[in-house]
């Protein structure tokens, strides 16, 4: 019975691990997208404006 419990626990842990890995891959794709978008904004020399707007929005 003890072995059963151990096997079951290991299974649950593995499921949680693989959910995490899947989610992390999504995050990594998004991260690349964000870096790319920031790059484009910077290239256009508009980042400064963006930051000004962000600061204004906070006021």
């Amino acid at each position: 019975y003890l072995e059963d419990v151990k096997v079951q626990a290991r299974g649950q842990l593995q499921a949680a691990e693989s959910r995490y890995e899947a989610q992390k891959r999504i995050t990594q794709v998004f991260e690349l997208e964000i870096l790319d978008l920031y790059g484009r904004l910077e290239k256009d020399g508009l980042l400064k404006k963006l930051e000004e707007e962000k600061a204004e929005a906070a006021e």
């Binding site: 920031y38 600061a55 929005a57 906070a58």
Partner: protein, 266 residues
């Protein structure tokens, strides 16, 4: 006096007044390993793996905040902890320059105090996170009742002092947020604070009431001499730090007197 002889003096002093001595300083770290905050399960074999999960989670969240340019190398460490906590609870504002909410200020005060007690930043974040969660969840209903309890126990201990506070209309304006929301973070020095938080973490938020009552009793003469709510509050927010160890010791006695001896306080 060298650092060593100071420590000896401290531990001798602690023994005299009946406390465990220099080990007190480590108590929060012991709590961490003890699982009373639920950070680590109480089994050593799984500690390593759980700690790895905790560390990875810390790194994931921190990195994410850097990606969206919410924190940078210049961001103060306690603010980094705040942003991490906000992200994890789905409360990250749209911009880092938005004004902070009162609950954020409470978080920062607690974070500053923990930062002084715990060196490792991963441990530090997890302790803050769990402590704040405990206040927000387990104690959510109790904390608003503490000012009333404070009034009751002060009445039992010194009804004249209570009358004076009422006469000055100070009772409703005492620093309750500092006492009960921030749990004395920024009010008591680190060593005293640890002894109070040790009790809070172990399940008694009522200790906060007795610390507040002891502060009033300790500074009775001073408080009785002040006759405006504003002056009284201002004084209580900035009490002299050198008496805090004695205040906490007396508060724990008072707690035992009124609430018996809870099992975890031995």
């Amino acid at each position: 006096m060298t650092e060593d002889s100071q420590r000896n003096f401290r531990s001798v002093y602690y023994e005299k007044v009946g406390f465990r001595g220099v080990e007190e300083k480590k108590s929060l770290e012991i709590l961490l390993k003890d699982d009373r905050l639920g950070i680590l399960p109480p089994h050593h074999e799984s500690h390593a793996q759980v700690m790895m999960y905790r560390k990875e989670q810390y790194c994931d969240v921190l990195h994410a905040l850097e990606v969206v340019r919410f924190v940078s190398d210049a961001t103060p460490q306690v603010e980094v902890y705040l942003r991490m906590y906000q992200l994890e609870s789905g409360k990250l504002p749209r911009s880092p320059s938005f004004p902070l909410e009162p609950e954020d200020e409470v978080f920062l005060a607690i974070a500053k105090a923990v930062e002084e007690m715990v060196e490792d930043s991963v441990d530090c974040y997890w302790i803050i996170r769990c402590f704040v969660n405990q206040l927000n969840n387990k104690y959510r209903e109790f904390l608003p009742q503490l000012p009333k309890a404070f009034e009751q126990y002060l009445n039992l201990e010194d009804s004249r002092l209570l009358s004076h506070l009422k006469t000055c209309s100070a009772l409703s304006r005492l620093p309750y947020d500092l006492w009960f929301k921030r749990c004395f973070a920024g009010c008591l020095p680190e060593s005293s604070l640890q002894r109070v938080w040790d009790k809070v973490v172990s399940g008694s938020c009522k200790i906060l009431v007795f610390v507040a009552v002891e502060i009033l009793l300790t500074f009775k003469i001073k408080v009785m001499a002040l006759n405006s709510a504003e002056k009284i509050t201002k004084f209580l927010e900035n009490i002299p730090r050198d008496s805090s160890d004695a205040i906490v010791s007396k508060a724990i006695d008072l707690w035992h007197k009124h609430c018996g001896t809870p099992v975890h306080s031995a």
